[in-house]
């Protein structure tokens, strides 16, 4: 059984779907956590919401570290499989391409550009790890005092270049999710002609929530840095 996940096309897609689903759940969790930072943007803690407490809680406890490792594993599996699948698909397509190409009826642009979107997401991820993770969890792991979460956000997004880069990153994620979220259901066999419009609607809603949730933090702190 372990081998059909690597030597069969449907098995490989199952891995892609499950790892993608895991990443979607993580992203939703991460996004809801970030919203707390907005609540703290004006320097107080309404309703007891405290972003720094969350940062501390997810510092270097065993469960935070275990979570980080599982997450890193999920990301690596998803990326490695993305390249394997795309490489095989290009080979199956052949070297000679059509002279005339069209976008077929009902086909989303995102679905044909998942790897490109994924690569933009990886680049954004690298920037993000450099901006935040390397100054928070990593520093703590090395035995030093991590930077304050809210202040680090404030500092980072007072720079318009980061604001633009992060918004491009979120846009790529939006496109990736508009296809990915309904595709992961289809891959495990959960789809039919009645459910496709519903699944695509759910995918658009999830993608948009994720985009707005992340963008809200960036935009709020940028605007506050101007006034």
């Amino acid at each position: 059984m372990s081998c059909f996940l690597s030597n069969s096309s449907l098995g490989r897609k199952l891995v892609m779907s499950v790892s993608g689903c895991f990443l979607v759940l993580f992203i939703l969790f991460h996004m809801s956590m970030n919203l707390v930072a907005i609540a703290n943007a004006w320097g107080n803690h309404p309703f007891g919401l405290n972003y720094d407490a969350i940062c501390e809680f997810l510092g270097t406890n065993w469960y935070a570290l275990a979570g980080t490792l599982v997450l890193a594993f999920g990301v690596v599996v998803h990326i490695v499989y993305a390249f394997i699948l795309t490489f095989q698909n290009r080979r199956a397509r052949g070297n000679v391409r059509y002279e005339v190409t069209v976008t077929e009826k009902g086909v989303d642009w995102a679905s044909k550009n998942m790897l490109v979107l994924g690569i933009v997401i990886v680049l954004g991820l690298a920037l993000h790890l450099f901006n935040f993770w390397s100054k928070m969890q990593l520093v703590e792991l090395l035995g030093h005092e991590p930077e304050n979460g809210v202040e680090l956000i404030r500092e980072t997004f007072s720079n318009w270049i980061y604001v633009v880069l992060y918004l491009v990153w979120f846009a790529a994620l939006w496109f990736h999710l508009t296809h990915g979220v309904w595709s992961m259901f289809q891959t495990v066999g959960w789809g039919n002609d009645i459910w496709y419009p519903r699944l695509k609607c759910i995918a658009n809603i999830v993608a948009t929530l994720v985009f707005l949730g992340f963008a809200a933090v960036v935009v709020t702190f940028f605007v506050l840095s101007l006034v």
Binding site: M1, F4, N7, S8, S9, L10, G11, R12, K13, L14, L85, Q88, N89, R91, A92, R93, G94, N95, V96, R97, Y98, E99, V100, T101, V102, E104, K105, G106, V107, D108, S111, K112, M114, H179, W182, S183, Q186, T187, V188, G189, W190, G191, N192, D193, Y196
Partner: protein, 247 residues
């Protein structure tokens, strides 16, 4: 009507091909696309040139032989029909029409517009049949099949094995074809018996022959001349994954 045709010409599987331009004149709007190619070939033969090779057989949309890529669409711009079912009235007078063979690694060009589609036959031979005994006439009501199941099975059985799905797919994936075959049998009691074995064997053959993985773009169902739905791909995924987890 007059048309400019840009047609892929390739001497044999080994030669390098190229597009060649032709002009056809005074074509009646009710000429079918293949008849128009016949007229062109007549002219070419009279001029002492090699006629354009293209596949065709029934010319009524049931055999799946007439596999041409016309102006960017498998089986031409019309939805839900095969190449032999399109007519010149669907094009504009004076239009340039680009005609290409299927482009997919598993379907190599044999000559001009003819490709070798035996990979699909090999997938069928791997499991697209039933081996339960069905030769004696059973009582009509012995195995009740609901109308919904029968309809779904028949929709999938409409697949003519033309290859447009893999030829359209950016991944060269044969999933729609395999799904149609697996699904049409999976929906009937006679086919259920070997359901798990069939799904595994046909997917294994499809992978072995080098077809790509499915990204669920849906391009295949848009270009399929029988408008087979990707819902059948979802069923194939269920059939295959449950068979694998039962192992």
């Amino acid at each position: 009507m007059n048309f400019t045709l840009k047609i892929w010409r390739q001497k044999d599987a080994k030669s390098k091909g190229a597009f060649k331009e032709y002009h056809v004149k005074d074509i009646s709007p009710d000429t079918s696309f293949l008849e128009m190619l016949d007229i062109l070939n007549n002219d070419l033969v009279h001029a002492g040139e090699e006629p354009v090779a293209f596949d065709h057989d029934c010319r009524e949309g049931i055999c799946g032989m007439c596999s041409l890529h016309i102006n960017g669409h498998a089986h031409g711009p019309e939805q839900g029909v095969t190449t032999c079912q399109i007519y010149m009235r669907q094009f504009k007078d004076g239009q340039t029409i680009v005609v290409e063979p299927w482009r997919s690694a598993a379907f190599p060009v044999i000559k001009d517009l003819v490709v070798n589609r035996s990979a699909y036959d090999q997938i069928l031979q791997a499991g697209g049949y039933i081996s339960v005994r069905t030769n004696s006439v059973p009582d009509g009501n012995a195995i009740p099949i609901s109308k919904a199941d029968a309809d779904e099975s028949m929709d999938a059985a409409a697949c003519v094995g033309c290859g447009a799905c893999a030829a359209t797919c950016k991944n060269g994936s044969a999933m729609l074809f395999v799904a149609a075959r697996v699904s049409s049998l999976a929906k009937l009691p006679q086919g259920r018996v070997e359901g798990a074995r069939r799904a595994k064997a046909m997917v294994a053959k499809m992978d072995e022959l080098g077809f790509g993985n499915c990204t669920n773009t849906g391009a295949c169902q848009a270009e399929c001349p029988k408008s087979i739905s990707i819902a059948h791909i979802a069923r194939l995924n269920r059939e295959f994954l449950s068979a694998k987890f039962e192992d």
